[in-house]
Subunit: 135 residues, 2 copies
């Protein structure tokens, strides 16, 4: 397999990671996601890692990169379905996934994304597009 | 990997098949799905096969089994994201996925499931639960 499928669900993109992310696969995922975000004008990316048993520094870096890249393209990233053991490993390895939002499951992650997107559009409306300080 | 993750999205369950379905994995998927449908009272199952390059008689039988099993548990099954080459292969092999609904992508599949579920509840309301002929 060379590609992880990216599913479009309304304004959001859903990615389920089921296999070990080796170098090329991870790079493909990054570039495919960047392309899909711009093509579909997606406002959020949901990454499900409930099938991932082992997380190392490589995967955690990839997730961080995806989150940063999405942010530049005006989309939020939420990681969902993390197993308890994975959370423990991440903290013990000193990789607390800084800058990445997390939620318990896909439904909660989707709610989180909706909230972010709604908050932003409300902010834009109330500021009437005149304030440059909006991130 | 021993399990394919099943994601709950509202009244529906979403399964993305990204790896080759060997015997045990397929059997696990069937039993996990049956369990999830009963546990979550799901009304529909969406199976995304956009990452599947090769479909043989085994996978097509598994998909057929899942659809029949879901139907008994009062849930509809829609297969989405089939590649053109896979569709050609299925027909050439004489495996037209009888009894399985298909849609182009996840969004259309979700619409299809919503329609089935809405139609059923309308039918039930109009018949006032008195007609035994409803399947």
């Amino acid at each position: 397999m060379e590609k992880i499928p990216i599913l479009k669900m309304g304004k959001y993109l859903l990615v389920t990671i089921q296999v070990d992310l080796y170098d090329r696969l991870a790079m493909n995922l990054e570039s495919d996601l960047a392309e899909m975000i711009t093509k579909t004008s997606a406002r959020g990316v949901l990454i499900d890692i409930s099938a991932v048993n082992i997380v190392d520094s490589f995967i955690s870096r990839i997730i961080g990169n995806i989150a940063q890249m999405s942010r530049i393209l005006d989309a939020h990233t939420v990681v969902v379905g993390m197993r308890p053991a994975v959370a423990i490993t991440l903290i013990e390895l000193g990789l607390p996934l800084t800058g990445v939002h997390t939620a318990l499951n896909v439904e909660k992650g989707m709610d989180m994304l909706k909230k972010y997107v709604d908050d932003e559009s409300m902010l834009l409306e109330s500021e009437d597009y005149t304030d440059d300080s909006i991130n």
